[in-house]
Symmetry: C2
Subunit: 205 residues, 2 copies
DNA sequence: TTTTTTTTTAGAACATTGTTCATTAAAAAA
DNA sequence: TTTTTTAATGAACAATGTTCTAAAAAAAAA
C-alpha cells in the first residue's frame, strides 16, 4: 500500500509551500514583517500547523538561508569557464557582487542576519557547512593563483579572508544604505570601480 | 526667575537618562530586547513619558548612533599623531578595526542596523552627516597619500570606498559571526593578518 | 492665598507578535 | 465497525510599540 508514501509526500508538499511562501513574503517585506500568521494564511492552514514542520521562525529562515547558499554556489561555479585562476578569481568576485546586489534581502539573510546563526547554535553542529563550502571554494582558487605566481605569496587563509571581506564590505555598505547620502556615485558604479582597483592591487606586477 | 531654565534642565536630564539607560540595555541585550517598558522601568517613569522625548524607538537609537559616531571620530583623530599620510591611513584603519571589535553592538548600530537609517528617512535631511564626515576624513588622508606618491594614483572616491569597504568587511564578517565554524583562526588574528596584507598591497612599490 | 492655566505623568487600551497546549477532526489500521 | 494514530485547529499567553484620555503637579495669574 502506497498510503504512507503519499502521506510523506503530502507532508513534504506543505513543508515546501511554507518555505515558498515564507521566502516570497520575506523578499517582499523583510524578516520582521513576515509573520507566522501571514504565512499560515497564504497556505490556508492555521498558524499552529507551521510548528509541526518547523521548530520556530528561525528554523524556517535557516532553511531558506541554506537554499540560498546552494543557489549562490551554483552561480559561483560558472567561474570555472575560465582557465586562468586569476580570471576565475575575478569572475568569482563579479558573480558574488552581482548575486548580492540582485538579491540584497537574501544576501542579508545569508551573511548578516541573526536568525540562521541562532538556529545553527541551537543545533549542535560544529560546522557551518554552507559558509565553509563557499569559503573553501574561494580559497582553492586563490591557492591556484599563488601556485601559478599570479598573486604575491602570502598566508592563504588571511588572503582569502581579505578577498572575501573586501567584496562583502563593498556590497554590504550599499545594501545597508550606508553609501547613500554621503555624496557618492551610485552604488553599482562605485562598487565596480572599487572592485577594479582591488583586482589591480591583487595582481602581481 | 530661573524657573523655566530649571525646567528645561530637568527635561534634558530625563532625556539624557533615557539615552543612558537605552544605551546600557542595548549594549547588554541588543536592540530587540531593549524595550520601551524596560527603559521606562529603569528610569522610574511610565512608558508613555518616553514618547514625550522621542518620537519612537528609532529616534532613541538614531541619537545613540549619532553619539557613537562622535566617539569614533574622536578616536580616529588620534591618527594625526603621525606625520606621514600613509602611517596616518594605516593608523586610521587600525583604530577603526579596534573600535568595531571592542564595540560590536555600537558598530552594528552605526553601520548595519536599520533603525537609525529609518529615522533618517523620516527626517527629510538630505545628508547623513555622521557618515559623510567620517568618510570625508578618510578621503582626505588618502588624497594626501596619493599626492605624495605613496599610493597608486586612481580615482580618489573609489579608492576611499574600497578602503572603507575592506575594513568594514573584515570586522562585519566577524561581528555577524560568519567567520566562526568555517575552520578559521580566531577573529582578531585573522583580521590583523588580512589587514597587514591589504596595507602592503596599497603601498606603492 | 486662591483660582486658572499649562505642563507633565500615568494608566488603560489596541493591534500585533511568536509560541504553546488541549481539543477536535480526519484518516488509517484492526 | 471500532480503535488507534496522525493532523489540524482555536483559544490562550505573555510581550511588544504606540496612542489617547484622564489625572496630577507645577507654574502663572488673579
Amino acid at each position: 500500500m502506497g498510503v504512507s508514501e503519499r502521506r510523506i509526500r503530502e507532508r513534504l508538499d506543505t513543508r515546501q509551500s511554507i518555505l515558498a511562501v515564507a521566502r516570497e513574503l520575506f523578499l517582499l517585506k523583510g524578516f520582521e514583517a513576515t509573520t507566522i500568521r501571514n504565512i499560515a494564511e497564504k497556505i490556508e492552514y492555521s498558524p499552529s500547523t507551521i510548528y509541526q514542520h518547523f521548530k520556530d521562525k528561525n528554523e524556517i529562515f535557516y532553511t531558506i538561508h541554506s537554499e540560498a547558499f546552494a543557489e549562490l554556489v551554483r552561480y559561483l561555479n560558472a567561474s570555472e569557464m575560465h582557465k586562468n585562476p586569476m580570471d576565475q578569481l575575478i569572475a568569482l568576485g563579479q558573480i558574488y557582487v552581482q548575486f548580492a546586489m540582485e538579491n540584497p534581502e537574501l544576501y542579508d539573510l545569508m551573511f548578516i542576519m541573526e536568525a540562521p546563526i541562532d538556529f545553527l547554535n541551537y543545533l549542535e553542529d560544529t560546522n557551518w557547512i554552507e559558509g565553509k563550502t563557499a569559503f573553501d571554494y574561494l580559497r582553492s582558487i586563490i591557492a591556484n593563483c599563488i601556485k601559478q605566481g599570479l598573486i604575491i605569496e602570502t598566508d592563504l587563509e588571511s588572503l582569502s579572508y581579505l578577498v572575501w571581506s573586501t567584496v562583502h564590505g563593498l556590497v554590504t555598505i550599499s545594501i545597508k544604505k550606508r553609501g547613500l547620502r554621503i555624496g557618492l556615485s551610485d552604488p553599482d558604479t562605485i562598487i565596480q570601480r572599487s572592485f577594479a582597483i582591488f583586482s589591480h592591487l591583487l595582481i602581481k606586477s
